[in-house]
């Protein structure tokens, strides 16, 4: 069963045709990694699913059409979103960032604080003064407070130190047991660890769908992603 089905998704930004008919599916209760070189439309795809960019085509969450629905209703409908570059509210405290995101009847602070105990001790600290890794914890924690049918995670390890990459990876691996996930990620080691399915994009289109075992093939990795798989 598919949690999410994206069909013929097109996005234009300032006259440029960024997504040119994107098609893929995200199986329920699994982690799907959305891969591709920089600038091929991965983050745009997540934003279009969230309704943050106007788009044409179809995005169905368990047969419920999301395209054309207001962003806040998509989020309330069970689509959690962790944006690229964290986008925490820098002038709010950590606790205020979490409180703002909590809209479920019983927000799951227990899960969040068990994954990221540091957020409890830093509750009164302004998010803008946190390190990049701590901000990423806040960004991942926000949607986890609510019940999600799917979690969209955009480059969760971007710009993090190796130790923090491992910490975030551990957290995502745990979250993967709880929720369907669509992850945009450049770190192939992380993808191999948590993903059961991969989707590769190029020039605004999906060019490959399959299992993560393909990432062990150097030729595949080099031709599809333009990087060496062995070093990730």
């Amino acid at each position: 069963m598919n949690a999410l089905a994206v069909k013929d998704l097109h996005v234009y930004i300032q006259g440029s045709h960024i997504l040119q008919g994107v098609n893929f599916e995200v199986p329920a209760n699994q982690v799907t990694a959305l891969l591709g070189r920089n600038g091929v439309g991965k983050s745009t795809t997540l934003k279009a699913i969230m309704g943050l960019y106007p788009s044409t085509g179809s995005v169905k969450l368990f047969d419920k059409e999301l395209n054309g629905v207001a962003t806040h209703k998509i989020a309330r409908g069970g689509v959690g979103y962790v944006p690229e570059d964290r986008e925490v509210f820098s002038t709010l405290t950590v606790k205020e960032n979490l409180n703002l995101a909590a809209h479920a009847e019983n927000p799951n602070f227990e899960l969040v604080y068990s994954l990221f105990p540091e957020l409890l001790s830093r509750g009164a600290q302004r998010a803008g003064t946190l390190s990049g890794g701590q901000q990423q914890m806040v960004a991942i924690a926000r949607p986890l407070l609510n019940k999600n049918q799917i979690l969209l995670v955009d480059e969760p390890t971007k710009g993090l130190a190796p130790k923090l990459v491992a910490e975030v990876a551990d957290a995502l691996a745990l979250v993967a047991h709880e929720s369907t996930m669509l992850v945009v990620e450049q770190n192939l080691a992380l993808v191999k660890r948590i993903a059961q399915f991969i989707v590769v994009m190029d020039q605004g289109k999906v060019i490959f769908e399959g299992g993560p075992e393909n990432l062990h093939d150097e030729k595949f990795v080099h031709s599809m992603l333009g990087v060496s798989g062995g070093h990730n």
């Binding site: 806040h72 989020a75 979103y81 509210f89 709010l92």
Partner: protein, 293 residues
């Protein structure tokens, strides 16, 4: 020394009126990116509502009547702001140039309607008799109404800061000023926050309309424009979206203008424009504004 005290306190009194105009402008721009040129009409509508309450509903001239006029003026300004937001602004989200043009249009149309209805002449707003009293502060003779302006502005500042700090809608507004798209991505209907901000800003402007009518001895549709220009200057100097910045800038501008007019008669406005230019050159984001990403 008494001259210094006199100019300082009257400057703070003037700054208090500027703050009432600027606070709503600042929040509206900070949250929604709307340069709201109709904000002066919120003042005018509030002032005429206060006048209507004082002269048509109750016919006495005492402190309670004036307090009633402030509340009615505030509610009138707030509700009118909400109507403008619902009828005009919500249809033009993200179309900033259109919003600016349409709000200029609203200001012109409402100003002309008020002028046609009430004429452009100053109509006297009844004030309590103690308004003409004076108090001595270390030898300086201060008109007592200045303390009222300062008190009302301080009260509204505290109320606004409390709403922003301690309520959920305040939390949404503070987050929305920083990144409204991310607020919606967290499942929050940010448009409700827009409406709350318009009401709050309109309320402050309406109260400001009644107080400026008392300050300038009357109500006229023609005076709101001048106050609005100062409101914009305060917002730019204080920093877009910062209520604290607006309060600080309003005081700075009020005091500077009074001192400038005393020592260089007639050049108060010029000095304020100079101050604005200096802030824009040295701190473009304003005194307490955030640096743009």
């Amino acid at each position: 020394m008494d001259t210094f005290i006199l100019i300082s306190i009257t400057g703070i009194g003037l700054g208090a009126l500027y703050f009432l105009v600027a606070s709503g402008l600042s929040l509206i721009y900070g949250l929604m990116g709307v340069l709201n040129f109709a904000h002066g009409t919120f003042m005018s509508v509030g002032a005429y509502m206060g006048l209507w309450f004082s002269t048509q509903v109750v016919h006495t001239t005492n402190t309670w009547t004036f307090i009633g006029a402030l509340i009615v003026g505030g509610l009138g300004g707030g509700l009118f702001a909400l109507i403008v937001e619902q009828l005009v602004i919500t249809r033009l989200y993200e179309r900033h140039i259109d919003q600016a043009l349409v709000t200029v249009g609203v200001a012109l149309v409402v100003g002309a309607m008020l002028g046609g209805w009430f004429t452009n002449d100053l109509r006297l707003l009844p004030t309590p008799t103690w308004f003409i009293n004076i108090v001595k502060v270390r030898g300086a003779i201060i008109p007592v109404d200045r303390f009222l302006y300062i008190g009302v502005a301080a009260l509204l500042l505290v109320v606004m800061l409390a709403i922003l700090k301690f309520t959920r809608i305040g939390l949404i507004i503070r987050a929305g000023v920083e990144n409204r798209h991310m607020v919606t991505a967290l499942g929050i209907n940010v448009r409700l926050a827009f409406s709350a901000v318009f009401f709050l800003g309109g309320f402050a402007a309406g109260v400001g309309g009644v107080l400026t009518a008392a300050y300038q001895n009357g109500v006229s549709p023609l005076t709101a424009g001048t106050w609005l220009i100062y409101g914009f200057i305060v917002v730019v100097v204080g920093g877009m979206g910062s209520i604290g910045g607006s309060a600080l800038a309003a005081m700075l501008i009020g005091i500077t203008k009074q001192f400038a007019n005393y020592y260089i008669p007639g050049l108060g406005d010029f000095v304020i424009v100079f101050l604005l230019a200096a802030v824009l050159l040295t701190k473009p984001q304003g005194l307490l504004g955030k640096v743009s990403a």
